[in-house]
Amino acid sequence: MIRSVLVMNTQGKPRLTKFYEFWPVEKQQEAIRNVFSVLCSRAEHVSNFVDAESIFGPDSRLVYKHFATLYFVFVFDSSENELAMLDLIQVFVETLDKCFRNVCELDIVFNYSKMHAILDEIIFGGQVLETSSTEIMKAVEEITKLEAQSNAINLVSKSVSNWRSR
């Protein structure tokens, strides 16, 4: 299964973190720092694998991809295929690109819940459930609509009721 998904920028600032097992936050932050220190020392055009057992415990592997100012990192165990995980990063980034039209770091910084909604459609409890970015987009749009609806009702009703109570 997939253990963790991390997105961080080239300064080491985390932009998205997801752990599919419970990890205390301090350990999360430490792992992120360790991962970054390994990643930033790697040259361009080398392989996308990093030995992760020292950071995430036995039977853990790590693949990453470097896009512009961001590192996308997937940590997983021997039940996943390394190349498939690289493809999955590609799927994730393509979906983000569709969603935000030419995705850049700021989109990821400012769309916390949407990022999670997208990721949750792809990976569920550490398992890959969806790999088609159109399907993912469909579900995410539905969810966004649903949230907007409920919020709209919320605002209107509240302001109306408040007006009346005066």
Binding site: V46, S47, F49, S79, A84, S113, H116, G125, N154
Partner: protein, 965 residues
């Protein structure tokens, strides 16, 4: 209230505000966060759900991105989960998934809400609940919600059903009894026409099978169908993973799947699927030659690919294959060796492992030599990677593959001089270990040690101190092999030794004492008649037993050695300035080296006094004690020598003097051979009556920190050789040194009295002993390995084996010495040609030239290639016959089949009945199920088969066993 809520609403900062504020803040991130949290703590208590949800959302953000602990907000998350508005609900669920763990107390409150949302008509609400459940499900939650999940497993919406399938994994994990309820439906989903569903189910089975593969063997037909029919790459990868787990358990199954997997590998365009096939074939189907051959050919493609990822994975696949199919590595040695100089460190390390896998007795010299040279030029971390793997490979199984120890010892010396070398401890261990195990290597060992010791530059490198320590010990212990004693003494006493840590300096001083004793002994011998020498040697024989011949030869050949060995290296390799520096007050030694004259002896003694004199005020007790010992000895000897010098005519009488007696005694003591010690040796010492080893003695250290160790001397391995007490008063004691520990303890007592000091009595000897001679884990390992193997062969006589171990304390050394001689004539011809090509290839790559790429293949006497050819031939010729065999095999077991299948059948029936009961139980009587928790594990296993078997019974009962054939 309404007013306040509208104010809150209007003025509350949203998540976006927080993010923006964080980017613009001037007060520092942590100050900003704590201010924001303060604000959130206020807002989250609001009764207005919108305010609350915004606050919680901000908190989640801070937790995920900035590592804030939000466990205190757990209750608010539960509150929001029960909100009727989707946006609030989703924030609540997100917070729960983010921060809850098994011990979160409010988890108990979520059960009903989860149940409600799981059965919600809105698929997105059900999806939210499932999502959170997949992270937070506990035993209780899993048990209580099993019915809901069971019904979702057949939900009409794929969107929900696939998530329900995935959540089953966590539920089974926490509450194995859920298997009885859900397993059947899970398996049914395998038949679904929707690839997403199939993919989800296989994902679950892949996880389950990786924990306990045997339970899922009965599902093999289902998986096989997927393997053959499915075209989806994700699904194929999962099913391959499952078969990789199942195939080793059932050879008949393995035989069946090899062909389909090979077919997929040939056809597929996806590298990921192809690599998964390769990995499956190499890890789990290694016995099927056709598959392995195809896989290796694919690996070759990977190794030659542009993409570094594929090269890396190719190397990984090769190292999987290396254990069983070394030929696969040899076949690909060129790309492997080329990878050693890849810019990617992953690839370098992987290929280093493979190169080391190729090392054998016959090519170890070339490969190691080239690698060590390469280490010189590589970056520090890879350099040490190389060195440690060379060290590990060569010392494997007590230096199994090392034939030429002279070479290996010199290699160790070379390694020590590599600037980035961090392997000091391992080199130290091996230098000493070889000294003790391999007699024939000692001469070279001492030469290497001398080269290390006389180089003052090395003393400045902290990483080398451990190696120098070993060198000093070796030089002292095997001093009889030394070329020039005076030069060694100079090295041991050189001024820069003050750069060494005290413990190592103590070793230097102790070695100096050994050298001095040996010098004096030689000096005395030299001045005696030939007869007397012989007599003396006889004496040695008497005392030293097995070691005697060696000592005798060395005694008599010392002089020749001096002439042969010392001058050549001195004039050629070492620049004389190196040591002249330290020899200003004994310039005679350089020229007169071997001939130990009276003057040179006196000079030597003077110098020891001069150099070590200041150390009697040293802070460290180790150094202090040793310096005192050696100085006292020097004074004693000097008095006598100078006496003799005045009446020069009587030199012949020297041997009668007290001093010569002492010297001889000390020489005898030092000359005893130290052997390697088994780690289990301590265990064989019977614990004396009344000694409680487990008593806690912590309090003691406070009371008597200074006097704690005297008793430990009784565990000394070789008390005698450390009889260094030099007091004039202890001469008598020295005479019966053989009785060791007691004497030492008393002489030390006296020593202490004399100095009025009560420093750590625990003779440094003791400590040094622990530092040095017993460092030989591998040896003991090999002992136990041997024992284990032998025990396997003859399972009855464990006891006998152990005794055998006891009775031969150093069998390995003997074996190694034999190995020195025997294999050479036999194995010299064939393997060497291969090695040449291999190491030549390494050289080519590492040194940058790329000539003669295929010389290895064209070499007719090349062992590996001939092997390969053989293999190819074998395979080519055997394919038809193998097929026949297969057919035969397939038929043969089918005869057994009826019996086993009917047995299965019975089981199945029985299980089916029980299974049905259980399902009812599972749904209705949770209490009962809870009672059965204790037998979960067992139950799990059984029930999985149970649940799956009905299906099989219905559709293909007769096929299961057939298929497995």
């Amino acid at each position: 209230m309404a007013g306040s809520s509208i104010m809150e609403n209007l003025f509350q900062r949203t998540l976006e505000d927080i993010i923006k504020g964080m980017r613009l803040q001037l007060i520092g991130e942590s100050a900003f966060i704590s201010k924001a949290v303060e604000e959130i703590r206020r807002e989250i208590k609001s009764t207005d759900p919108h305010t609350k949800s915004t606050a919680l959302q901000k908190l989640c953000y801070l937790s995920a991105i900035h590592g804030l602990d939000i466990s205190w907000a757990a209750f608010h998350a539960v509150e929001l989960m029960s909100s009727s508005r989707f946006s609030h609900k989703s924030v609540g669920y997100h917070a729960a998934a983010l921060s809850f763990h098994d011990a979160t107390p409010v988890l108990l409150l979520t059960t009903n809400q989860l149940r409600k949302d799981l059965s919600s008509p809105n698929p997105f609400e059900a999806s939210l609940a499932l999502q959170t459940l997949s992270r937070i499900a506990t035993v209780d939650l899993a048990r209580d919600l099993t019915p809901e999940i069971f019904s979702l497993l057949s939900s009409g919406r794929v969107f929900v059903r696939k998530k329900a399938i995935a959540v089953v994994l966590r539920v089974f994990d926490k509450y194995p009894d859920a298997v009885r309820v859900c397993f059947k439906r899970l398996v049914e989903n395998l038949e679904s026409s929707d690839p997403q569903i199939v993919s989800a189910v296989l994902g679950v089975f892949c996880e389950l099978a990786s924990r306990d593969p045997r339970s899922y063997l009965p599902l093999a037909p289902e998986f096989y169908r997927v393997l053959v029919d499915c075209k989806n790459n994700w699904v194929l990868i999962k099913v391959l993973k499952i078969f990789a787990k199942l195939a080793p358990l059932e050879p008949r199954l393995a035989k069946r799947i090899v062909e389909p997997i090979c077919e997929i590998m040939r056809v597929t365009g996806a590298k990921s699927v192809m690599f998964e096939c390769v990995r499956t074939l190499l890890t789990s189907l290694g016995d099927h030659d056709s598959g392995v051959k195809l896989a290796v050919s694919k690996v070759k493609e990977l190794l030659l690919d542009e993409d570094p990822n594929l090269r890396y994975l190719g190397l990984q696949a090769l190292s999987v294959a290396a254990a069983k199919h070394l030929w696969a590595v040899l076949e690909n040695k060129e790309p492997v060796i080329k990878s050693l100089s890849d810019e990617d460190s992953n690839i370098r390390v992987e290929s280093l492992c493979l190169v080391m896998a190729m090392v054998s007795e016959s090519n170890v010299t070339e490969i190691s030599g080239v690698l060590v040279n390469y280490a010189l030029k590589s970056d520090p971390s890879f350099c040490n990677e190389i060195l440690s793997s060379v060290l590990a490979t060569c010392s494997r199984n007590v230096y199994e593959i090392v034939v030429d120890f002279d070479w290996y010892v010199s290699l160790l010396g070379e390694m020590a001089r590599i600037p980035n070398c961090q392997q000091g401890e391992e080199i130290e261990r091996q230098l000493i270990d070889i000294g003790m195990r391999v007699k024939d290597a000692r001469l070279q060992l001492v030469r290497v040690a001398r080269d290390l010791l006389i180089d003052p530059a090395l003393l400045g490198n902290v990483c080398l101190h451990r190696i120098l320590c070993a060198a000093a010990w070796v030089a002292g212990e095997y001093i009889e092999f030394a070329g020039n004693l005076f030069e060694l003494m100079d090295a041991l006493l050189q001024p820069r030794t003050n750069l060494l840590p005290a413990s190592i300096r103590a070793v230097y001083i102790h070695s100096a004492l050994k050298v001095l004793v040996f010098c004096l002994d030689c000096y005395l011998m030299q001045n005696e008649d030939g007869n007397l020498v012989v007599g003396q040697s006889d004496l040695f024989i008497g005392k030293r037993g097995s070691v005697a011949p060696e000592s005798a030869t060395c005694q008599s050949s010392t002089l020749e050695q001096h002439e042969d060995l010392t001058f050549n290296p001195r004039n050629t390799t070492e620049s004389p300035e190196d040591h002249r520096v330290f020899e200003n007050n004994a310039d005679t030694t350089v020229t007169q080296g071997p001939a130990i004259t009276h003057e040179s002896m006196v000079g030597l003694l003077d110098r020891i006094e001069l150099v070590l004199g200041p150390l009697t005020a040293n802070q460290d007790v180790e150094v202090l004690d040793r310096a005192c010992n050696i100085l006292a000895f020097v004074q004693l000897v000097k008095a006598e020598l100078i006496d003799n010098a005045t009446q020069e005519v009587n030199t012949v009488d020297k041997k009668d003097t007290q001093v010569s007696a002492i010297i001889t005694l000390m020489r005898d003591a030092f000359v005893t051979d130290l052997g390697p010690v088994s780690v289990s040796a301590q265990g064989r010492v019977a614990v004396p009556n009344g000694l409680d080893l487990k008593e806690n003695l912590d309090d003691l250290s406070a009371i008597c920190g200074d006097i704690e160790l005297p008793s430990s001397s009784s565990f000394g391995i070789g008390g005698p050789q450390f009889g260094t007490s030099s007091d004039t008063t202890s001469i008598g004691l020295l005479k019966n040194e053989e009785s060791g520990p007691v004497n030492e303890a008393t002489s030390l007592l006296e020593h202490r009295k004399r100095h009025g000091l009560y420093y750590l009595p625990s003779e440094k000897n003791e400590i040094v002993q622990h530092d040095y001679p017993p460092a030989n884990d591998p040896r003991s390992n090999s002992n136990s390995d041997e024992a284990a193997e032998l025990a396997k062969l003859t399972e009855k006589s464990l006891v006998l084996k152990k005794k055998a171990n006891q009775t031969k304390p150093r069998p390995v050394v003997v074996k190694l010495d034999d190995g020195d001689v025997v294999p050479l004539p036999i194995s010299i011809k064939k393997p060497e040609s291969r090695d040449d090509s291999l190491s030549g290839a390494i050289k080519d790559i590492l040194l940058g030239s790329t000539t003669k790429p295929s010389s290895s293949q064209s070499n007719p006497s090349d062992k590996s290639s001939s092997k390969r050819k053989e293999k190819k031939k074998l395979v080519a010729a055997d394919i038809p016959s193998q097929m026949k065999e297969n057919l035969g095999d397939a038929e043969a077991p089918s005869l057994e089949n009826p019996g086993s299948s009917s047995k299965d059948h019975d089981h199945v029936k029985e299980r089916r009945q029980r299974g049905k009961e259980k399902i009812v139980e599972g749904e209705g009587h949770d209490q009962k199920a809870r009672k059965k928790k204790s037998s979960h594990r067992h139950g799990k296993h059984k029930t999985r088969q149970k649940a799956s078997s009905p299906l099989n019974v219905v559709s293909q009962t007769p096929e299961i066993p057939d298929f497995l054939l």
